[in-house]
């Protein structure tokens, strides 16, 4: 073996020594490659495990927490929802179309291997400034990739979010969440059990593509990353659609012990993980693996990340059941080995042993590091923004500018490229606070959202993490749902940097705190480190994907005002704060200052109030305040039906903060005049601050004496903004 062979595999000298120590001998090349990917950050979570341990993962509704391909929550009637979020940042930075497309492919496989039929996808994206040509290329490519793969496979893309900020210029974020529906009886696991049971590989043939993608994801992007060709894969949504149907049919057949998709680190991680979960061993002969290219080495076959493949362990004697089902869908299934009882992952090449490692050693014994933390320097200098610098003399113009800033502007240009209606369950598609899907044949529905404001997390990681959870829950509540559980997509820079690790730890702490308060456990997630480019690290971006339940579809609420004369209320309170707001970005081209306060008790009461009002059927629209503040929230509620507002608020805070401050825990609702007393009773009984702020009127947007605009004009600016910048 070459000197320093471990470096090539992304391992440190210490890790190499540990391997020699555990094996009690030197590893072969293939074995070292296997350790390299299995102990990579992407597969082993070696730098994050100890921090993630504290996430609350239990709750009444949780049927499957972290540890499997995806978590599962109960939604009653013996039905359940499986969901998870996954990042595909680095592949998308190099090849946006295929990077994003294969990201969708990967997360969908995670869902259907749980036995669930994927019924919706969401995508959470971050790009640099849209004026930059390369950013435009990345943005268009990513959207086209998601559109191409998601539409073709026939799963609606129903929601998501997009932010544009310089910090993501060299390292965009592409996180995709998939959501599936299943019956309790069909829950499948990725476990290999029962010595003698066959191990089969199904789906695509194995090629040289994507070799070592897992280690690629665990590295910083450099100028040379464009040269990382082998790590780029082309997805085949058509094949995946067949794989999906065949796999679900197989799971229903009863012939199955376990099933696992081959994602990062392909055959290596799938076999080691399946064996380790079942306290078993697996022996495979790679000469039996169908390949696409000639002369592939055992190293290449074990580490290939060719897409659209799965590892399947059926009951002995049921090999033909598997073959027949896959045959029907035009796919191949091949026996490549068997389950053993010695706990070893044994790799043969045409009968000759090339690797033999304890499966649990690979899957569970990876090193765990507590990284050094240090409070970032930049946080020491953060102070309240100088109000004098950001005084405005034309609020109408400010509002129009905010509405046409890409981060706040309508994302229609994006989501009209996504089929958000296929499967005919989409009750509320993209464009609202949370998407709503009916559960076919039942009266209930689910609500889905993703949220995270990276700037908040940069300026205050702890509070930013907590706010992401609260906002997600608020979006679910605004749509009429009850928050159930979350999945987290944690995107950060290099964990070896103590300041980054501090951001990471604190963000997670914030998430933990909020999840405990709101009783929304974490049922799975993803960590993506090393999101850096030569210009530096991204903002810490812990994206929260949340699923909520509507007991009855009739409880659904949308954000748009419905009728002239309806009363507009604000639940929650306005605070004199402008820190971290998009308004600052507009005025001083920098998001700075003190992140909005968060009072988790108040947050909880605000949400509870709106939920009770929904239950009592007094709410006609609900929309939470987020980027752009109250003025933007009200505008967004006007657009769908082309209605206007007459709002008059007397608050002892600055006009700027009243209009554009991003105070948390605020929800704007509209109600019919007749329901006034009923509504106020509910707010009072929940002892929540609230105020009547105005009425819905036609076309004209009037906010105090500060803003007076035509809704049509506002809407067309808001709708066109993204397309205009391209």
């Amino acid at each position: 073996m070459a000197e320093n062979g471990w470096e090539k595999e992304g391992l440190t000298k210490e890790e190499y020594d540990k391997i020699v120590d555990l094996l009690k001998r030197k590893p072969t090349d293939t074995e070292l490659g296997i350790f390299g990917v299995m102990w990579s950050e992407h597969c082993s979570y070696k730098n994050s495990k100890l921090v993630l341990k504290d996430l609350p993962t239990e709750g009444e509704c949780v049927l499957q927490g972290p540890g499997e391909n995806a978590g599962i929550v109960d939604i009653g009637d013996n039905q359940a929802i499986s969901f998870k979020i996954e990042s595909h940042n680095h592949p998308s930075a190099v090849e946006p179309f295929q990077g994003a497309a294969t990201g969708i492919g990967g997360i969908i496989r995670d869902i259907f291997t749980m036995g669930a039929r994927p019924i919706a996808n969401l995508n959470s994206l971050r790009f640099g400034n849209l004026n930059n040509k390369r950013v435009q290329y990345l943005f268009k490519g990513v959207v086209a990739g998601i559109s191409s793969y998601g539409n073709s496979i026939g799963i609606p893309t129903v929601g998501g979010e997009i932010y544009f900020d310089d910090v993501y210029e060299g390292n965009p974020l592409v996180n995709v969440m998939s959501v599936g529906l299943l019956d309790h009886a069909d829950i499948a696991t990725a476990t290999a059990r029962g010595a003698g049971n066959p191990v089969m590989v199904v789906g695509a043939a194995t090629g040289r593509d994507g070799i070592k993608g897992a280690s690629f994801a665990s590295d910083e992007l450099t100028e040379e990353s464009d040269e990382d060709r082998p790590a780029v894969q082309v997805g085949d949504p058509f094949l995946e659609k067949l794989l999906l149907e065949a796999s679900l049919e197989l799971i229903k057949s009863g012939a199955l012990i376990g099933i696992q998709d081959m994602g990062a680190a392909g055959l290596t991680s799938s076999s080691a993980e399946m064996a380790s979960r079942g306290d078993s061993g697996i022996e495979i002969d790679i000469a039996k693996v169908p390949v696409r290219e000639e002369d592939m080495t055992s190293y290449e076959i074990m580490l290939s990340e060719s897409q659209e493949r799965m590892l399947v362990v059926p009951k002995k004697g049921k090999e033909n059941v598997v073959k027949d089902i896959f045959e029907k869908w035009g796919l191949h299934a091949e026996v490549i080995g068997k389950v053993t009882d010695d706990g070893m992952l044994r790799i043969l090449n045409d009968g000759n042993k090339v690797a033999e490692i304890s499966a649990s050693l690979l899957a569970d014994e990876a090193p765990e590091y507590t990284r050094e933390t240090k409070k970032p320097e930049y946080l020491r200098t953060i102070k309240a923004v100088n109000r004098e610098k950001i005084k405005s003399d034309n609020f109408s113009e400010d509002l129009l500018k905010l509405l046409s800033s890409p981060t706040i502007a309508s994302k229609k240009w994006v989501y009209e490229q996504y089929d958000h209606m296929v499967m005919t369950n989409t009750v509320v598609g993209p464009g609202s606070d949370a998407a709503i899907l009916r559960i076919e044949g039942k009266n209930k529905a689910i609500a889905l959202t993703t949220d995270c404001n990276g700037k908040y997390c940069y300026l205050n990681p702890y509070r930013g993490g907590a706010i992401a959870v609260c906002e997600a829950a608020r979006n679910i509540v605004c749509s009429g749902g009850r928050p159930l559980a979350i999945t987290d997509g944690l995107n950060f820079g290099n964990p070896m940097d103590p300041e980054i690790y501090w951001q990471f730890k604190n963000s997670v702490q914030g998430i933990i705190e909020a999840c405990q308060k709101l009783k929304t456990p974490v049922i799975g997630g993803n960590v993506s480190f090393y999101n850096e480019s030569p210009k530096g690290a991204i903002d810490p971006t812990p994206i929260i994907g949340m699923v909520g339940l509507l007991d009855s579809i009739s409880e659904q609420v949308t954000m748009d005002f419905k009728k002239e004369g309806d009363l507009i209320y604000l639940v929650g309170k306005n605070i004199d704060e402008l820190g971290a707001s998009q308004y600052l970005k507009l005025k001083i081209d920098k998001v700075d200052g003190i992140v909005p306060q968060l009072d988790l008790d108040l947050e909880k009461r605000v949400q509870k109030t709106v939920r009770s009002a929904v239950k009592e059927d007094v709410i006609k629209s609900a929309h939470d305040c987020s980027e752009g503040g109250l003025a933007v929230t009200l505008a967004e509620s006007c657009f769908e039906n082309g209605l206007g507002i007459n709002v008059d608020i007397d608050e002892p805070i600055s006009d700027e903060a009243l209009l554009f401050g991003e105070s948390q825990s605020r929800i704007v609702v509209s109600i019919a005049p007749d329901d006034l007393h009923k509504f106020e009773e509910i707010t009072v009984s929940n002892s929540v601050p609230y105020m009547k702020i105005g009425t819905v009127q036609s076309r004209e947007y009037k906010f105090n004496e500060l803003i007076n605009l035509d809704v049509g004009e506002m809407k067309s600016k808001w709708e066109a903004a993204i397309e205009v910048s391209l």
């Binding site: 190099v94 090849e95 179309f97 295929q98 695509a204 090629g207 040289r208 593509d209 464009d226 060709r229 082998p230 780029v232 894969q233 082309v234 997805g235 085949d236 058509f238 094949l239 696409r292 290219e293 060719s306 897409q307 035009g330």
Partner: protein
């Protein structure tokens, strides 16, 4: 001088070509058993005006291919450049 350029792009070796695979399956199911492999790429015809030297035209085409017409991360390209008849 005007030039006619014909450009062919295809996926680099080793990169999965789902289109080619599907077309191959299609041809086989139509009974063309002798078909052994299929690759699908793009074909482009471009007419370029008013460039006097072939080298200049050629350099321009190289440039266009790299920048826009092919995706250098996954595709390779070939082209043919011909002077157009008056």
């Amino acid at each position: 001088m005007d030039w006619e350029v014909k450009i062919e792009t295809k996926l680099k070796d080793g990169i999965l070509d789902p289109q080619g695979k599907a077309v191959k399956t299609g041809l086989k199911s139509l009974g063309y058993e002798n078909v052994d492999s299929v690759f699908v790429g793009k074909y482009m015809e471009i007419i370029i005006k008013d460039i006097s030297k072939k080298e200049d035209a050629s350099e321009m085409v190289e440039d266009m291919c790299k920048k826009l017409l092919a995706n250098p991360v996954i595709e390779e390209y070939k082209y043919e450049l011909n002077k157009m008849e008056g």
